[in-house]
């Protein structure tokens, strides 16, 4: 390899909401940053999501607390970035069965102990808040912290803000080889070869393929979700209801399916039908709305469901930022990663998010 290699202090692979948030936050502290993506932002998981900013019901409770800190960053981001259509609607999770009520009470108690504002609503209280909920519910959990955002706008807003601070982005540029040479990483791509002192892998469910070049195993797999989108309707849903939300544009997004289907991004008859029944069960008025499209996305799911954020032991300069719930967590993941990349102490302990927990 005698070709000219461009050097960057930090290279981030993956320009989804997580990678671009890291670039944006890091650009407030340091310079000379490159972000590489094999495709275009939004082509992967960041563009195939309901994009809830969701806190309550997350388990374990300390993880809900972590999600809350990230959700609390959204009102600030909304001021700092271009319009990302973030709305703090409050979130409602309806309960249909008596035997789940006692367990929901425990959940509410556990989350309140962590300082999360969450309430158990009676049927009447829930229907007063959200009149279009099914009258078959018997109760619901509610938190004012929950909301949603336009994920494509969020992704673009991070990128635009980072570009204004001189971060370089290279799209449609798949990485073909990563090597460690001395104190540097040599990253070969289809367009160019780069060197970097620090390398961040933020490629979601595709991260394990990149980490393999450096002999690092990352236990993350794709978990497919299928989502239905209706025609736009006048605003009738006030809240983000677990499984159903209405966009600023008026369309309703429905779905919370989980399938082990490898990297296949197809939609299927079974899940489309089941999702329609699920939506109508929770919000009966959806019956008369029309579906305009169905799509599937791949969650990046670590083996224990919790994020992997931080340095990799044994490979100095290598960092991972891979997680499910990248939309909810992208603000705090970007902030924490920017702190450690700039050599600062992280403002939230990263101990629970270490890669090494899987080997212990």
């Amino acid at each position: 390899m005698n070709e000219n290699m461009t050097h960057y202090d930090t290279i981030i692979i993956g320009a989804g909401v997580v990678g671009s948030s890291i670039a944006y936050h890091l650009s407030e502290k340091t310079s000379n940053i490159l972000v590489i993506d094999r495709h275009f932002p939004g082509a992967g998981t960041s563009g195939a999501t309901q994009a809830w900013v969701w806190v309550h019901t997350k388990q374990p409770n300390w993880y809900a607390e972590f999600s809350m800190y990230s959700a609390e960053m959204y009102p600030i981001l909304k001021k700092k970035l271009v319009d990302i259509e973030y709305v703090r609607t409050g979130g409602i999770a309806p309960i249909f069965d008596e035997d789940k009520l006692a367990k929901a009470r425990e959940l509410v108690k556990g989350q309140q102990e962590k300082g999360i504002e969450i309430h158990l609503l009676s049927k009447e209280e829930a229907l007063a808040k959200e009149p279009y909920l099914s009258d078959q519910i018997i109760a619901a959990t509610y938190s004012p912290l929950d909301g949603n955002v336009n994920p494509m706008r969020l992704n673009q807003a991070y990128i635009q803000a980072a570009r204004r601070r001189k971060v370089t982005f290279s799209f449609y540029n798949p990485v073909t080889q990563i090597q460690r040479r001395g104190r540097q990483f040599v990253i070969q791509t289809e367009k160019e070869t780069y060197t970097a002192g620090q390398l961040v892998l933020a490629a979601g469910t595709w991260t394990p393929l990149l980490a393999q070049h450096l002999g690092v195993q990352v236990p993350v797999r794709p978990v497919r979700g299928q989502i239905l989108i209706t025609e736009p309707a006048p605003r009738f849903l006030k809240h983000t209801v677990s499984g159903v939300r209405q966009t600023v544009n008026g369309e309703v997004l429905i779905g919370y399916s989980k399938e082990e289907a490898g990297f296949a991004k197809d939609t299927t008859w079974d899940i489309i039908g089941e999702t329609a029944r699920f939506g109508i069960k929770i919000i009966p008025a959806l019956r008369r709305l029309r579906l305009v499209r169905a799509f599937a996305g791949l969650r990046a799911m670590p083996r224990d469901g919790l994020p992997i954020i931080g340095p990799v032991q044994g490979v100095p300069g290598l960092f991972l930022a891979v997680m499910h719930s990248g939309v909810t967590l992208s603000p705090i993941a970007g902030m924490l990663m920017s702190e450690i990349l700039a050599g600062e102490a992280p403002s939230f302990p990263l101990e629970p998010f270490r890669l090494e927990r899987f080997h212990e």
Binding site: K258, I271, G279, L291, V292
Partner: protein
Amino acid sequence: MNCGWNRFADEFTIICRCEEVTRGEIETAISQGACTPDDIKRITRCGMGPCQSKTCRMPVMAIIAEFTGRPLSQVASPKARFPLFPVHLEVLATMPNRQNAEVIDILLHAIDNREQTGE
């Protein structure tokens, strides 16, 4: 063929009628690195409306061809998604579930998880 599609369109001409996206907005998206109709859709909502790009797909592909200097035959088509035309949800709800595929209730899922982790 390329110039035929766009000869009468200036930057204010609406290309996507459903979402009212102009030629100017599409060109801006291309200048930011968008290469396909799906890339442009994610930035501008072009082709995201009720017709699902059945009206604007060719004009958009022609603008990409013109801008990038590629022949139209080498410009990607937008991904076609189910359904071909809008269908009421109550109709979809009658489809059988042959594989017992599951859509998960998020709260019950959280409760099950809690029982597993024992927190």
